[in-house]
Amino acid sequence: MTASFKSPAEPKLNNLDLAPSSEPGISGDLLEVAMGPHHPSTHGVFRMDIVLDGERVIRLKPVFGYLHRNHEKIAENITYIASMPYTDRLDYICSLTNNWAYALAVEKLVGLEVPERAEYLRIILGELTRFQNHASTIGFLIQEMGASGTPLMYAFREREKILDLFESLTGSRMMCNYMRFGGCRVDPSAEWLDQVRKVVAGLPAFTDEIDRLLTSNEILMARTQGIGILPPDLAVNAGITGPMLRASGVNYDIRKIDSYGIYNRFTFRVPLGERGDVYDRYMIRLLEMRESIRILEQALKNVPGGPIVDPKSKIRGFRPKPGEAYGRIEAPKGELGFYLISDGGPNPYRYRVRPPSLVNLTILEDMCLGAAVADVVIIFGSVDIVLGEVDR
């Protein structure tokens, strides 16, 4: 970790009335606990080496790499299109946005035009993905607080409907492999779009349900408010993106800044938090789900006809001219970028992923210092990571 990742200020004790049991500087009764890689609440194989003073965290070292699959090196040895299914496996909750980011990077590299209809489809699928990702993130977060899975099951109930849509369009529920360079793979039928409209019409009921179930719950407030505070300057310095950054009050949404795709045609707002604690991160996700529904409603109103893939695009014998390109999108977890260098061959010369999960996770120690072990679990849950993307 570089120096800029460290908090400039003394880490604040997060609203916890625990007296330090030893003199500062004396490490008398410190307890070292390795949380993970086989711990129920580490979302997969992830380890946190925690040094505890009583129940207070005084050091935390995230250890990752247990799920490393050599994604970038593999991608440099296979053709461009063959990497597309591999991007599904980065953040396996939102494969469609991963596809989109990679397709965007290649489109920039080659200069392909995306047809209108494909742009609309990408927006619809991207926002559905964002919705189901945020829903399950909230579910997992509350699950870690011990709610025996109720919000998680509600989230999965809605996610089920969205995944059914994905399956009936792309053939797979999670590993969609749907976007292609310069468009999309399959043209959806009118019935499919009607189905989407029906599902989207039911989504506000779900956000309201989660809202009633959780938002004003005193236990949730007591557990999450003032816990895991991430100050805006630290967040910016550490390169945090996505809902986590916005929960700290920084207005940074790539959908607004880059307006990639056709996001500039839709009206939506970017919710911003003030304190940057776990509750803010939960609320920002909930509010973003509502904005996603707004975008979906606008996009579904008039999906234009026409081709869904640039006729110049081809799958076999795809050799971009030498050059480089960086394509980034606002993935549900933050800025997902793909950096490509082409040397004119069929395989990329360099292929690099900028994973939001990994970058957002680097700040974990600064948020957890002074918190209790029980809080570490929910702070970790509020970061919203998928280990497939962290370790690649």
């Binding site: 296979i78 053709t79 299109i81 063959a82 990497s83 597309m84 299914p85 591999y86 599904d88 496996r89 109720t150 509600y154 109930r157 089920e160 409907k161 059914d164 399956e167 009936s168 369009l169 792309t170 053939g171 797979s172 590993m175 492999n177 793979r185 399959v186 039911g202 349900e209 009633r212 179930l213 959780l214 938002t215 004003s216 719950n217 005193e218 236990i219 949730l220 407030m221 799958i315 076999r316």
Partner: protein, 198 residues
């Protein structure tokens, strides 16, 4: 007020408790082996090889061009080309695979092989109950296991199969016309993919 949020939460779970008895929208669970979900047409699991007619060995559309083997991202396909030739789906003399294995423990169901195949020979299956007690051998599907009839293809992906059939019929007519002409010089070479086909 203190306690209000707790009561609201309790009301919500109570609503779901009773709602799960009346609304199928809430209770999405299906008791799997006895009841099954309606099959989704686009669903894909593992690839299979399509053959026409009744005999799978004679009717196999695959011409062992090995494009899918090359393009497969996890490299789970293994093909051995034949020495002799047999007529393919459109009636031309082509090679055929003497060996065509797919290791489904490696396959990641990405459908790239289907997209790159110029002969509509490999398609995605929907069969997912492939559990076996042999970790290695049991998960390698050979030619015989992979070969499924065109009728089966029509059964699982009717729309796509109809498109493919229309295309193949057109090509069959074309090649029949060409075969009628005396200069059938490139009959042995693999057909270039028709335009528009991916």
């Amino acid at each position: 007020m203190f306690g209000e949020g707790i009561l609201k939460g309790l009301a919500e779970t109570a609503k779901n408790f009773f709602g799960s008895y009346v609304s199928a929208d809430r209770l999405t669970t299906v008791e799997y082996p006895e009841k099954r979900l309606e099959p989704i047409e686009a669903a894909r699991v593992f690839p299979f090889l399509v053959y026409d007619g009744g005999d799978w060995q004679a009717g196999l559309r695959c011409v062992a061009c090995q494009i899918c083997e090359k393009e497969c991202p996890p490299k789970c396909i293994y093909i051995e080309k034949s020495k002799d030739k047999k007529p393919d789906a459109v009636g031309k003399m082509q090679f055929y695979p003497t060996r065509f294995d797919i290791d489904v423990s490696v396959c990641m169901s990405c459908q790239i092989c289907v997209e790159v195949c110029p002969f509509d020979a490999i398609k995605m299956d929907k069969l997912f109950e492939l559990a076996t007690d042999d970790r290695f051998g049991g998960l390698i599907l050979d030619r015989g296991m992979l070969a499924k009839s065109n009728q089966y293809f029509h059964g699982i992906h009717p729309t796509e199969a109809a498109e493919v059939d229309a295309r193949l019929t057109a090509e069959r007519a074309k090649s029949a016309a060409k075969a009628g002409a005396p200069a059938a010089k490139d009959a042995g070479r693999p057909q270039p993919p028709p335009p528009g086909e991916k």
